[in-house]
Amino acid sequence: MFDAIVVGSGMSGGWVAKELTEKGLKTLVLERGHHVEHGADYKDSLAPWQLENFGMVPEEEADEHYAVQKKCYAFSTANQDFWVKDSEHPYTTAEGKPFMWIRGYHLGGRSLMWGRQSYRLSPMDFESNAKDGHGSDWPIRYEDMAPWYDHVEEFAGISGSKEGLAQLPDGHFLPPMELTGTEIDFKKKIEAAWPTRKLIIGRAAHLTQAQPVHEELGRISCQYRSLCERGCSFGSYFSSLSSTLPAAERTGNMTVITNAIVHSVIYDPKTGKATGVRVIDAKTKQGRTYEAKVVFLNASAIGTAQILLNSKSEAMPNGLANRSDAVGRYLVDHISGVGAGGIYPGFETHYHHGRRPNGFYIPRYRNVTEKTDEFVRGFGFQGGILRETWKRGTAKPGVGAEYKASLRRPGPWRVGLGGFGEMLPRPENRVTLHPSRVDQWGIPLVHIDAELGPNDRKMVDRMRADAREMLERAGVQDIHVGEHYGGLGLGIHEAGTAHMGKDPTKSVLNKYNQSHDVSNLFITDGAAMASTGCQNPSLTYMAMSARGAHYAAEFLKEGRI
């Protein structure tokens, strides 16, 4: 019997494990995938020419086994073990509604390959559902989260600049990384043309200046290799493996079991509580159970919904903690993959040195400082301006010494902008269990039925138009505006499938990330989100996990659960 079970070892599960074990709770962390050893299992010491096939995963292997995962920019032979084989972990989608579910089933989960952009949600994000009526009103406000953002920022190590923006609260930052001269020029032009738009350096989970709290876990400052998605042996970016799990480990209170797929949560109708979980061993396919006083689901938004829906019982025929019928519903991703690029002319006497694992950020301005009637909510842009590499030579006619000499020089400066927009939470966008198909462990497949709605599509159009307009205003040449990829999932920010709300008949979790229906069940991954803002969500999952773990430990101590 453990004090707590944490299902999942990724971004949020790692934080729950750290917080609970540091409060003295004997905690079992269950990871459905394989073990990954921090450092030893990373290929971050390899030069490009040492990578298998120069980083390119064999085409037929990628098609057969990684049909979805291969669409992620970070997928390569340098980290192939960090992606699920879609062939072994199938799911289904509704006709005409592609959903690219990017997954990492291994210790540390997607915290190993994440993009590391780290932004707070703002007061207006926690109020948006109440104001415009979409989704459930959040049972918490920014003030509830602020101390927990402070808490996780200090430990994770977030670099960034203080800007005093209402829509993007400042935090506890390490020194910011620097913009290039061209990015500063672009910033000036944008801010002159639109005085309330801002361009700032990205806020990213990198140790620009490692502090004692980081160094005591063996983490050092960023070396600007930008090989992050291979895993970083220096521990210079935040991951479960570099940070939270080692912190939990040193308490002596954590047990980690890998290859342990959680089939369902066990519910005792007599007490109204969860008593533990049923696990299927990924290798032997044998079933077993673990018991604990409190259960945290941190299996990622869709995975957590799958477990809840599969935890059916006589007392709860719609799945566990699903009196509201909201489990699996309100699935959102960020509207992403929309942007523009071009040549930023001039400045050819300057270059950059090192590889900055970060870019710039243009925080949301639509419906903040610029009222926009065509849609509610808004979007931000991530981007960068760097000099082009030899890759420009591909489509450039030419052969021989002259051609070679031309590619020896850095190319012109190229600007890229990519939008991240808030998708409205809608009940019809949902995850269910497939009525007949099961995976090799006998667990019903996830079925995803979700698409952009009218508000979301208008936002796509506006993102494209705004990106073009800002580039044009800055004198960018050869502007190319991308099309949206036509599906969902590639924002890799899926959320909302067991959302927090005030009304137990309409939402799944209360203001403590505690199930309305099952008092010792907590969910602090993306599933808990009642809305997502347009900011990258991981920092919020971290803060919510630390906060949820705090309350769970308090309630346990007080004998309330």
């Binding site: 020419w49 037929e60 098609d63 040195h353 590889r355 850095p410």
Partner: protein, 184 residues
């Protein structure tokens, strides 16, 4: 698949030696000889995708695209061998067929019989014609050739610059007029 393994009775090693003589000393100068390794250490997969004659074409063309100058060229950097390895270890059946046909098409230029001065013009015209119509197979071919060259140790560190561990980020450095680009 078109492979020298399917040509019984041929001694690949001697054929390759001939090939090296035909196209100059570049291959022989490759340290450690990727070719020798591939020939002497056969794995389950065929040791070569392209035939010896095709390898000659591939070596000739890639070295015309990126010749040896004051820095190593494509052959010095092992591009032909690594391209062949990609065909065996990376390419789909479709890409294999397309590149096989492309190399044969390049072979049709008859480069070996042309005087050195005319070879580059023939490849220049081929390159321009293919890119003008955005021939996808050729565009991918050129992308792979550039990748194999600029991400090779010679390409990345001698022609361009590469640092595994830069250690710092300098966002705005004065650049000498002859400064080389970062490979990555």
């Amino acid at each position: 698949m078109f492979s020298s393994d399917e040509l019984p009775g041929l001694d690949r090693r001697s054929l390759l030696r001939n090939a090296i003589m035909l196209v100059g000393g570049g291959l022989a100068a490759t340290p450690g000889g990727a070719i020798a390794k591939a020939v002497t250490k056969p794995k389950k997969k065929p040791a070569r995708f392209f035939s010896p004659a095709q390898m000659v074409v591939l070596a000739t063309v890639t070295d015309i695209i990126i010749p040896r100058t004051d820095t190593p060229g494509a052959k010095d950097a092992g591009v032909p061998q690594n391209f062949d390895a990609l065909m065996r270890n990376w390419a789909s059946a479709q890409h294999q067929a397309q590149f096989n046909a492309l190399v044969d098409e390049l072979g049709g230029l008859g480069l070996a019989k042309l005087p050195a001065g005319q070879r580059i013009e023939a490849v220049r015209k081929f390159d321009a014609d293919k890119l003008a119509v955005f021939d996808e197979t050729y565009v991918k071919f050129k992308e792979l050739v550039l990748t194999l060259y600029y991400l090779s140790e010679a390409g990345a560190t001698k022609e361009l610059r590469y640092e595994l561990i830069p250690g710092k980020w300098e966002p705005w450095t004065e650049m000498a007029p002859d400064a080389r680009a970062w490979a990555v």
